[in-house]
C-alpha cells in the first residue's frame, strides 16, 4: 500500500510527462531547404571574400587576419542566420495557423530552451576563438555545437532533427581533421545537409 503522497506524486508525474513530451510540430521542411540555400549563397560570398581567385578545393593558409575580411565574413554569417530564422519563423507560424496550434507553446518554448544552451555557449566560444586569432577550428566548432543543439532540441520535435544533429557533428569532426577546408565543410553542413533533411521532412510531413 502506497502512502498518500505517493499517489499525489503519481498524478503530478502524469502532468509533468504530458507537458514534457509535448512536441513542436510546426517546423517545416521547406524552411530547412531555404536555410540551406541561404547558407550556400553565404558560403559563395565568403569564398569571394577570402579565397578568390584560388580554387575552393585547393588547400590554402588562411589570411583572414585582416580585420576587414573577418568583419565581412561575420557580416555574411549574420545575414545568413537572420534570413534563415526569419524564414523559419514565417513558415512555422503559417503552418501553426493551419494546424490550429499556437506557435509559442510549451513545446516550442522547451525546444528553444534546450537548443539555446549549446548554441549560445558555442557561439560565444567561437567569437572568443576569432578574437584570439584561432581561425582554423571556427568552422568545425560551429558544426559541432550546432549538431549538439539539434540533438538537444530533437526530443521536442520531429525525429529527423536528431539525425540531422548527428550528421552535423560527424561533419564537424571530419572538418576538424582537415583544417583549411572549413568553408567546404561549412557549406556541406549548413547548406547541403539542411537541403537534404529539409526535403525529406517536406515529403514526409508537409505534403
Amino acid at each position: 500500500m502506497k502512502e498518500i503522497q505517493e499517489y499525489e506524486k503519481d498524478i503530478a508525474s502524469i502532468r509533468d510527462m504530458m507537458e514534457r513530451s509535448a512536441k513542436f510540430i510546426s517546423l517545416t521542411g521547406l524552411s530547412g531547404v531555404l536555410a540551406g540555400l541561404y547558407a550556400l549563397a553565404g558560403a559563395t560570398a565568403a569564398y569571394f571574400t577570402v579565397h578568390y581567385p584560388i580554387s575552393p578545393l585547393k588547400f590554402r593558409i588562411y589570411s583572414v587576419r585582416e580585420p576587414d575580411t573577418l568583419l565581412r565574413l561575420i557580416l555574411i554569417a549574420t545575414l545568413v542566420i537572420i534570413a534563415s530564422l526569419a524564414t523559419g519563423l514565417f513558415l512555422s507560424s503559417k503552418k501553426a495557423k493551419k494546424q490550429g496550434v499556437k506557435l509559442w507553446s510549451a513545446a516550442s518554448q522547451r525546444m528553444l530552451l534546450n537548443v539555446s544552451v549549446p548554441l549560445v555557449s558555442g557561439g560565444i566560444f567561437i567569437l572568443i576563438m576569432l578574437a584570439t586569432d584561432h581561425f582554423g577550428l571556427a568552422a568545425p566548432a560551429s558544426l559541432i555545437f550546432y549538431g549538439l543543439a539539434l540533438i538537444q532540441g530533437s526530443a521536442n520535435t520531429f525525429d529527423e532533427i536528431r539525425y540531422l544533429g548527428y550528421s552535423q557533428i560527424i561533419l564537424g569532426l571530419v572538418s576538424a581533421m582537415l583544417p583549411g577546408y572549413g568553408l567546404i565543410f561549412w557549406s556541406l553542413g549548413f547548406g547541403v545537409l539542411h537541403i537534404v533533411y529539409g526535403a525529406i521532412m517536406h515529403n514526409k510531413y508537409d505534403k
Binding site: 498518500i4 506524486k9 508525474s13 502524469i14 510527462m17 504530458m18 513530451s21 526530443a155 525525429d159 536528431r162
Partner: protein
C-alpha cells in the same frame, strides 16, 4: 463507503509505466529513443516496462526501418486508454478521500 483503492490498476502501479502511458495518451505514436529521453531512464528499464504494458495489451509496437535504421514506435490501444483513464479517476478518488 466504497473503497477507491480497488479501482487502481495493478499494471499501472509503477510510476514509469504511468509516465509511458501519459506520453502515449497525448501522442499518436512515440519513438523508443524519444520516449527514453523524455522519461530520462535507461534502455533496459524502459524496455522491461514497455513489455509489461504490451502484455496487458495497453500498447502496440510497430517496428519499421527508416533509412535502414530500425525504428520502433509505440501506440496506445483503446484498451490502454480506458485503463489509464480508470486508473486516473481512481487516483483522484483516493487523494480526495484523504483530504
Amino acid at each position: 463507503m466504497k473503497n477507491p483503492f480497488e479501482n487502481l490498476d495493478k499494471a499501472l502501479e509503477h510510476r514509469v509505466r504511468l509516465q509511458i502511458m501519459s506520453v502515449l495518451v497525448t501522442h499518436d505514436g512515440y519513438e523508443f529513443n524519444a520516449l527514453k529521453e523524455v522519461l530520462s531512464i535507461t534502455d533496459g528499464n524502459l524496455a522491461s516496462h514497455i513489455k509489461a504494458l504490451e502484455r496487458e495489451k495497453y500498447l502496440t509496437v510497430s517496428k519499421s526501418f527508416v533509412e535502414k535504421k530500425p525504428n520502433t514506435k509505440y501506440k496506445i490501444t483503446e484498451r490502454g486508454r480506458t485503463a489509464f483513464k480508470k486508473h486516473l479517476d481512481a487516483l483522484e478518488a483516493v487523494v480526495k478521500q484523504q483530504k
